[in-house]
Symmetry: C2
Subunit: 267 residues, 2 copies
């Protein structure tokens, strides 16, 4: 086993999920199972499921819903029918009344019979498409996390769920930014086209060097910042809702599906 | 007033809605307020709203959700903020335990404080785009209703909501069918690209001359049938759910919004 690289050991979503289930993988999933779509996970009780699904419907760019499980079921029958969402992610976050209280690697003991799990599209899919489309992604080249910012744009609220639109930023030349719009527009299920190019102040972002989440990535001469709606948005809305108990993936520790990135493309 | 044509009297969504509200319009809305998106209406109690929204999320081609109102509110703040969904459609249908019981022109006396209204995309938008894109639409040229068929493809169920995918059919030459795919793919919010071209038997349709809903439209030599997911699908699922009380628009008597057809296009 020791001579196997991660790429060989984790070539498929099933391999990643089984390693998580066995307790041998608790690290971020970036780069694992290339070509397999990865997803954000949000779990809420059924009493909050309509409000959360409605929040996603009203804010489809930051919250593109890929699948919703049956109440009480941890099986995403469309995206990975053999998976168990209680064990198959590397690490989870436990939220009680909006506060982060734990980061376990297994949530079987926390699972409730009325829990509904939401899989939400992840930017890893469109980043793979950008790279395949000849658009370099700076934070990947630098080996760091993407910079993310709270904006001055409120999401459309739904019941207890509200909060700011959170965006991720990737610096590009104007020509590559145009290419990036075209590439990512084909992936509405994973945040789609950018929501802004150019002026951070328009979004209420004061300093690109000080992201609210992730790592700072600076612009080079001639580059513009390109902003996409980000999957941290629903996590912020979840904190705002202050539910007695809710669960999510831990940052970067995504759910790896059986569905190919390319199958999420349209047009 | 008598010399004014319908096109002049009903140039905008607001004009159509106010005429409905005043009781002076109770006819189908096809052709009114050209360029304004029209929508299917489904109203269910909040206790069924999660299941219905989930049914739509799981079946986005027949059930593209444009807007969901706040519980108890008849105001679609995104698509027509001044509208009242209880009065502003020409005619409604009342469903009790899955049975059609009435077709009133006003539902104020039926409205409940826990009602949630869903606006669902309507094929009128993509038909306007087809015509603008040089693709004639036969049933419009013939002045009849589009033919619709129940298929052998079940929708993905959600709670009490289930049923077959219902499709509409438009005959075209293969070259125009290809053009039609490209045009309608730009409108995922109003059923998007076709779901089938060619063989009705693949969909379990035995006789194109005998549609389940609407009028028969026959193929001419060299034409193929082109099938789109249809907004009658959620109405069939609603009947299947047998809720004590649910409300919809009456066939063809759509809700006319303030939003432009073109603003629903992507790409």
């Amino acid at each position: 086993m020791s001579i196997l690289t991660n790429a060989a050991r984790f070539a498929t979503g099933a391999q990643v999920r089984l390693a998580c289930r066995a307790g041998s993988l608790s690290d971020p999933t970036a780069g694992l199972a290339p070509g397999a779509a990865q997803a954000n996970l949000v779990i809420v009780p059924q009493s909050a499921a309509f409000e959360f699904l409605l929040f996603c419907q009203r804010n489809p760019k930051p919250c593109p819903v890929l699948e919703v499980t049956e109440p009480g079921s941890a099986s995403p029958v469309q995206f990975a029918p053999d998976a168990d969402l209680r064990t198959d992610l590397p690490r989870y976050r436990v939220w009680r009344h909006g506060e982060l209280t734990d980061e376990p690697t297994d949530i079987r003991d926390l699972w409730q019979p009325d829990f509904v799990a939401f899989l939400i599209g992840c930017s890893f899919t469109f980043e793979a498409a950008l790279i395949a489309g000849g658009v370099p992604v700076r934070h990947i080249d630098l080996g760091c996390n993407v910079p993310m910012f709270r904006t001055n744009r409120p999401c459309r609220a739904a019941g207890r769920f509200s909060g700011p639109l959170v965006v991720s930023m990737r610096p590009m030349t104007p020509a590559l930014a145009i290419q990036a719009v075209q590439v990512t527009a084909r992936y509405p299920g994973v945040h789609g086209a950018p929501i802004h190019i150019g002026a951070p102040a328009e979004l209420g972002i004061k300093d690109l060097a000080r992201p609210d989440f992730g790592d700072a990535v600076l612009l080079r001469p001639g580059e513009v910042p390109v902003f996409w709606a980000c999957g941290v948005t629903p996590q912020c809305a979840l904190m705002e809702a202050r539910l007695p108990l809710a669960l999510t993936h831990a940052p970067g520790c995504m759910f790896v599906t059986d569905v190919k990135d390319e199958s999420l493309a349209v047009g």
